[in-house]
Structures are given as C-alpha cells and as structure tokens.
C-alpha cells in the first residue's frame, strides 16, 4: 500500500494539470513503514522526452540522482515516480512497462480535459514483463 500526504498530493495534481495536454513527471520522497509507504514530498520534474510529449515522458537520470541526494539529506527515501496520462485512463501502458524500473512505485494520474480524474499505482517486475497494481490512498476532499 502507498499513501500520499496532502501537500505532496496537491503538488502532483497541480503539476499534472499545469502540464496538460502534455504528460508530466516527477519523483516522490517518503518513508517505508513495514509493507506500506508514506509519501511526504513530491518533486515535479521536467519531461525530458525529445518528441511529442502528449503521450510520452522521460525523466533525466541526473534529476533522479539529485532527488536521491535530497532525500538522503532530509532523512527520506526516494520511493516512487509519478506521471500523468492526459485524456486517458490511469493504466500502466506497454511503453510505461518497457521503460520502468522495479525499485519504485509508479503512480499514474489520469487528467481529463485538464482536470484530475483518478489515479493508480503500479509495481513493475524486474524483467519489465508485468506490473502489479498497488493499493493507493490519496487525500479526498
């Protein structure tokens, strides 16, 4: 299970809505607590994909390295990656799977007509052949 606190959740939704109609991306910092994860901070990042960004994203490894440094400095862990699917459901696409990494939770936010609609979290396997759904909790207003 992964739970996202109010402040990082608002950061993620705002970043996704502002980047619409393109895909946004970023990292999530937090703590592992036994089997569950708590996200305490979200870091919006620039989509570094070189082509059309309406249906593609790419994170710069340098940005992830920097996020990892920040997490360590604050006593947190880099525990997840988030990105958005504009006008599209929050599923884990083949493109997502083939470019994933099994070490993190992957939270996908569905943005419909520029507004947040729903979200899901996934845990990809090491061979990039399948992703398991992970229970996701976000603050409801």
């Amino acid at each position: 299970m992964i739970e996202i606190a109010t402040e990082p959740w608002e950061t993620m939704v705002r970043h996704a809505e502002l980047t619409y109609p393109n895909e946004c991306c970023g990292a999530m910092l937090g703590r592992l607590n036994g089997g569950s994860k708590l996200v305490k901070e979200a870091i919006p990042m620039e989509n570094a994909y070189a082509g059309e960004q309406a249906a593609r994203y790419e994170l710069r490894p340098e940005d992830l390295l920097e996020a990892d440094h920040q997490a360590r400095a604050r006593g947190l862990d880099l525990i997840g990656i988030f990105h958005s699917h504009p006008d599209c459901d929050a599923y884990f696409s083949t493109t997502d799977l083939k470019n994933s990494c099994p070490w993190y939770s992957f939270v996908v936010l569905s943005i419909q007509n520029g507004k947040f609609n729903h979200a899901n979290s996934f845990l990809p396997d090491v061979d990039q052949t399948a992703a398991e759904r992970e229970e996701l909790k976000w603050p409801k207003f």
Binding site: Y57, P61, L64, L65, I79, H85, T94, L97, W103
Partner: protein, 478 residues
C-alpha cells in the same frame, strides 16, 4: 575505498545499509564486489547474460559511466558510485504499443521470419513502422503493393487523382474496374486485400506548403513518387526541415533515378539540383511518355530502401544517385555529397520554412488569371472555321508517332522541335492555328511564331483531347 550508494528499494538486499564500501580498480570490479557480498542484489542490476539491465545507470560522482569508459571506468578509491534508474513511459495509444505477431501473421511472414536479418524483431519493426507515399501513380503502385505485403504497419497515401484508362499501362495497383474511382480508394482496397493487418491513412489532397509538414510529421519515412518538380522540391524541403528520410525516385521514358535523401548526415535533392530546370524543358510522363514497366523497377528500389531503413540492415542508397537505363539494361551510380552551402540542409540554412514551389519552379500560381483568350480558339470554334472553309492553316506540332495515333483532318504535321527550320516555308501574313495534344506545346509554337514576326497566329486550347471531347468522339484519346 570507493562508496556505492544503495537506492532505498535495494536496501532490503544489503541488510538495510544505505551505502557499501568497495575496493576495485574499475566500476565493473566494484559492482562485482557488491554482488558477491550481497548475492540477492545481482538480479536487480544485471540480466541473465550478466549485462547491466536497461534501466540501470551508473554514475561515478556526477558522471554517467556511459560517457566515461562504461563499466571499465577506472576508480582511484575516493569516488561515490550512484545507481540511478532510467525511467520513461507514456500513454501511447494501444494500437501503437509493442505488437506481438498473431499466428496468422507468423504464417504470412514466414519467409521473413526465417531470414536472420529480419526475424521476429525485424518483422515487429516493420509492423511498428509508418511510411507515407506521395502519389499513388506509377511509382506509388509497386511501392504500395510491396510495402503492404511486407507488413509495414501504417502506410499513408497522399493523392487527389482519379484512375484514368491511360494509367493502367503502368499503375498496376489499379485495375480496369477502378477507372473513375479515386486512386486513394482503389490503392487502399488493393493494399488491404493483400494484407488486412496494415492500416492505410488516406489524404485526399495535393501536397502543398500549407499541409506538407502536418501530414509528413506523423511518419517515419517519406517516399516521393511525384511527377513534377514543384512537389519534388516541396517534399525535399519538408523532409529536410523535419529531418526525415526521403526515398526519392523519378522516371522518364526509358530511364529512372533513385536515391535516399535527407537521411542522417546525407545530402538532399537541392545538393544535387540546386535549382529546377526552366518550365517546359523536361516533359512530364504525360507529355514525354514512359515505358510502363520502368516505374516497376524504380518503385521497387524505393520500397527496398524504405524496408532497409526500417530494419536497419545493409547499406542505404544515401549519398549515391542510382541511374537506370532500361534500353541498355545498365545501372550506374553517381556519388552525391551534402553541400555545406545548401540552402536547406547546409551548415547555415537560409530556407527554414516552406516557400511557394509553383513560383520557385517558374510556373504561374495555381489561382492565377487565365491567359488572355484573344490568341486562342477552342475545338468548336476550330470546327466552325474548318466547316466555313476559312483561309487558314492548321499546324499540328506533335511528334509523328502521336500523329499516327490520332489527328484532326486537314492538319499539317510540323513537330515543335522542327518548327524553327520550317518558318521560311510559312507566310508571314498568313493565318495559322497551332494544335497539339492538350494545348501546351502549341502555345509555345504560337510564341515562337510571334517572336518571328507572324501576326495572325492563335493557339487551339485543349488540343486533340478537346477535339475528341467536343467535336468528334471517334478520335481516340491517348
């Protein structure tokens, strides 16, 4: 001693340590030490072949080892080694995502699949690829047939024309029953019949400076099968701007050319021909004729080059112009170099957006006022003049072999090329009507006579084709 920082998710394998000290002269040795000490971490970093997994990036201090010496990067012992994942993705449309081949496709592509150079990987590349063909005519016919059969997943066709009887001698994608249909529909049906697994995108338009970038942007490869210079320069410039490979082919009578342009660092059409020829100098297939089999060879060469680019095999026809002569049955090759001064693909391009290609090729703009009609008569007016027995001479400026196909009774044959030496036989004060197949060559004949002092010369608009349409349907159209 160098230090490896362990990402959170991997700490379960390192007894929760967030960093591990290692010795070792290279990155590879340091990582080996880590996996020897904590064997369970190995599967997360290396695949079954012992190679770093595709999502693993290794940084020494702040440098990616891909840009140093890869895993042979030397360590002195004071470095911090970070393991950073590469992450990407996207909500790509379902149809575009890694398509597995169905059993039907495996059977269909069997002869490709057993070629090691193609195989499942190559066939999947073909299925994922997109190619747009400009024109569904002579070159487009073999191209469309073979690209569809080979399994290119998405094929765009740009064409606004309708199938005419005179197309069937060479445009083998269309049949007799297609006469009068849009070439887009006729070609699309035939391609989908050959291979129902492909998608055909139809653009019912001529390619223009306004729509070219929008249409071509969506495809991996552009194949130019156009028959005129304005569109050829337009396709070239659009491909140079979009940085897309342009598989070029052209045909004339018994000769053809092919090359791969604007591909990687290779040259473009303007590096070969900076300027178009003056209008009228190079006749089109409709004016000059073409051996029907010729576009078969050139179009298939274009299809081969497109497939090679998709598969990434062999040596592309880049930087080379292939010349084919059907009568001598001979291929020759010229070396082409990118011109650093080229206005579109050079080091300092001056053309960075599309221009007016009609004007560039010296042709009147599409919406220009028609030429004044005072110096022209049409087929019906000509018939009246003949019936009245007016005192004038009708001169047919076509070639003798055209004259054998069809003629207007009473016309005197003087081919345009021979007209200058016959001027002395004509009467400066006589009345002349010039006629050809469609009215273009005869207009040049009118101009020639006027420049030589003839006052009373007019052009017959529409040529013998209009004569057949409006006066005598028994005269065959060719």
């Amino acid at each position: 001693m160098a230090k490896i920082l362990i990402p959170t998710a991997l700490r379960q394998f390192t007894e929760q340590s967030d960093s591990v000290d290692v010795t070792g002269a290279t990155v590879r040795e340091a990582l080996d030490q880590l996996t020897v000490r904590y064997p369970n971490i190995k599967k997360n970093l290396f695949n079954d072949q012992g190679k770093l997994r595709s999502f693993v990036n290794v940084y020494v201090n702040d440098e990616d080892i891909r840009y140093l010496d890869k895993d042979g990067t030397k360590l002195t012992g004071s470095e911090t080694i970070s393991i950073v994942p590469s992450v990407a993705g996207g909500a790509t449309a379902v149809a575009d995502t890694a398509p597995a081949l169905s059993n039907e496709e495996v059977a269909r592509y069997s002869r490709h699949l057993i070629l090691p150079e193609v195989g499942m990987e190559g066939q999947t590349k073909l299925k994922r690829a997109s190619v747009v063909m400009i024109g569904a005519g002579g070159l487009g016919a073999p191209l469309g047939l073979y690209l569809a059969a080979a399994g290119v997943g998405r094929i765009g066709i740009v064409d606004f024309d309708v199938v005419d009887a005179s197309n069937l001698q060479r445009q083998v994608i269309h049949g007799t029953s297609d006469i009068g249909r849009k070439k887009l529909d006729s070609a699309g049906d035939r391609m989908r019949d050959i291979n129902p697994n492909i998608r055909v995108d139809k653009f019912d338009a001529g390619l223009t400076s306004e729509n070219a970038l929008e249409i071509l942007r969506d495809y991996d490869i552009v194949v130019d099968g156009t028959d005129n210079f304005a569109t050829r320069y337009l396709v070239n410039d659009a491909c140079a701007i979009l940085k897309k490979p342009n598989v070029y082919g052209s045909i004339f009578r018994f000769e053809g050319q092919a090359s791969v342009l604007t591909y990687q660092d290779g040259p473009c059409y303007r590096c070969l021909y900076p300027e178009p020829p003056p209008p009228g100098l190079v006749p089109s297939c409709a004016e000059g004729g073409v051996l029907g089999i010729l576009p078969g060879i050139i179009g298939v060469i274009q299809a081969t080059e497109a497939a090679k680019i998709i598969l990434g095999i062999g040596t592309p026809l880049k930087g080379r112009l292939l010349l084919y002569d059907a009568l001598e049955m001979r291929f020759r090759e010229l070396k082409l170099r990118r011109n650093p001064e080229c206005p579109v693909c050079g080091d300092h391009p001056t053309i960075t957006k599309l221009i007016d290609y009609q004007e560039f090729c010296g042709m009147p703009p599409m919406n220009a006022e028609p030429a004044p009609t005072g110096d022209a008569i049409d087929a019906i007016e000509l018939k009246r003049k003949l019936d009245r027995g007016d005192n004038f001479v009708l001169i047919d400026v076509r070639e003798p072999h055209e004259y054998q196909i069809a003629r207007i009774p009473g016309a005197r044959l003087i081919p345009l090329g021979e007209l200058p030496k016959h001027l002395r036989e004509l009467d400066l004060n006589g009345e002349y009507v010039m006629q050809c197949k469609s009215g273009a060559r005869s207009q040049r004949a009118v101009d020639l006579l006027k420049q030589n002092g003839f006052k009373n010369v007019v052009n017959m608009t529409g040529g013998i084709l209009a004569w057949s349409d409006k006066v005598d349907p028994s005269v065959p159209k060719y």
